[in-house]
Symmetry: C2
Subunit: 284 residues, 2 copies
Amino acid sequence: MATNKNKEKVESWFIKLRNQICQRFEEIENNFHHNEIREKKGRFIRKKWKRLKNKKGGGGEISIMKGRIFEKVGVNISTVYGNFSKEFSKQVPGCEKNPKFWASGISIVAHMHSPFITAAHFNTRHIVTSKSWFGGGTDITPTMPDKKNINLFHTSLNKTCDIHNKKYYKKFKKWCDEYFYLKHRQETRGAGGIFFDYINTNNWEEDFDFTKDIGKCFLKTYPKIIENNIKKTWTKKEREKLLIKRGRYAEFNLLYDRGTQFGLKTGGNIEAILMSMPPKAKWL
Amino acid sequence: MATNKNKEKVESWFIKLRNQICQRFEEIENNFHHNEIREKKGRFIRKKWKRLKNKKGGGGEISIMKGRIFEKVGVNISTVYGNFSKEFSKQVPGCEKNPKFWASGISIVAHMHSPFITAAHFNTRHIVTSKSWFGGGTDITPTMPDKKNINLFHTSLNKTCDIHNKKYYKKFKKWCDEYFYLKHRQETRGAGGIFFDYINTNNWEEDFDFTKDIGKCFLKTYPKIIENNIKKTWTKKEREKLLIKRGRYAEFNLLYDRGTQFGLKTGGNIEAILMSMPPKAKWL
């Protein structure tokens, strides 16, 4: 059950995970550089925001780093609460009669300088209305897909899911493939991952553990994928390919992404919502 | 009335205007260059497309140029016909009982290398269902707004509108300001222009003349604005500002533009629809 104590536990976990991920990413900035990139090693810059002017409504904190390995990476955490609009309440489970909500989450998007290091997205969240559930997902968008690292990503997710439910990985992988799909181009956004929502098995601790494990899996796996590919040099043509891939990424976020659309159309924090946009993109 | 002969007249006009505009833009490529840009002078490349595989449904022709003054400019013409889907018919005047439609139009988007030369959009169209009407608009998106050229653009449009109806300019300028608005950022896309739709005064020839005159106005005015600003050099910082402005342009097209959203979600020609996307864009 989503007691106040549980809400606190969730929020604390997202903060802890944020700290660990930022630290790990800064370590990579300390330890490596590309010969192609003249930037200094990056450091996260933090910025708090409030949802409402009157402070009742919660808010969040953006952490953003522009570095020499990470071209742009954003790590957002937020805890917001209040009442949904009448219109929106209709779409949210448990809000049919009561528009009250509480939501806490962490969201990460990393765009890399190197065309050989995949972009990555990760987010997990806990939503409480008259119902409560966990949701989230993580997926990678390589410009130059290589089997070894795609397998590493999927195998780690598969193993993590299997600890909790043998059906999770297959189900959530399919959900991811269906969600991160550019219908107008009839192509997937990237090399997939997992996507899940409305997780409530009537065992709050177990669902929370699953959510935490997906976070730990990302913290372990994505840095490894980065380091596996960090020594590869690239050509102008390969970098060009990355910028075009990023154009597709921008298309997905603005045309299809539920979070982006919802956030922008309901007056969310622009900077936090659009943090996922690529630093540079190209269209032919 | 939209007789077959009138449809032919409209289609021929759009082809003629396309030819004149492409020629004028190529002239600019012949006559000028920026010291900052190493590209060769541009030439339009044309590409035809068909709406349906079986050839019944019409199609269009893309003209695209990447040059030394025009970083990317697309000039699309199309004439398409058939039946709208049930869902879409509900939204289109004159399609309540009969989904049959015919539509012809020209559409231009120009993104320039120089931050001192405004981007521009122009389109006009004629739609025939059981009703018929003209629509279109033109607007500019300067990175470095300067009064002189914004005034030139608006004054030309004002004069052209006034020939046809003294109420047009004020009404269509307002419509433009309302349409090209980024709600999530609470900012206009650029420096405005005009936007009009559902024009049918019961005088087909007059409405067609108005549509033609807006085309001629664009053909005369935009090249003049380009040439007024062509000798200005720019800094890296000013170019950066242009790329960020273009990010906003991409946001507008993907989040709000009716044509883009409709085209992409109903399986239109991707290349033609997304021709409006900036060649390069940036998000901070």
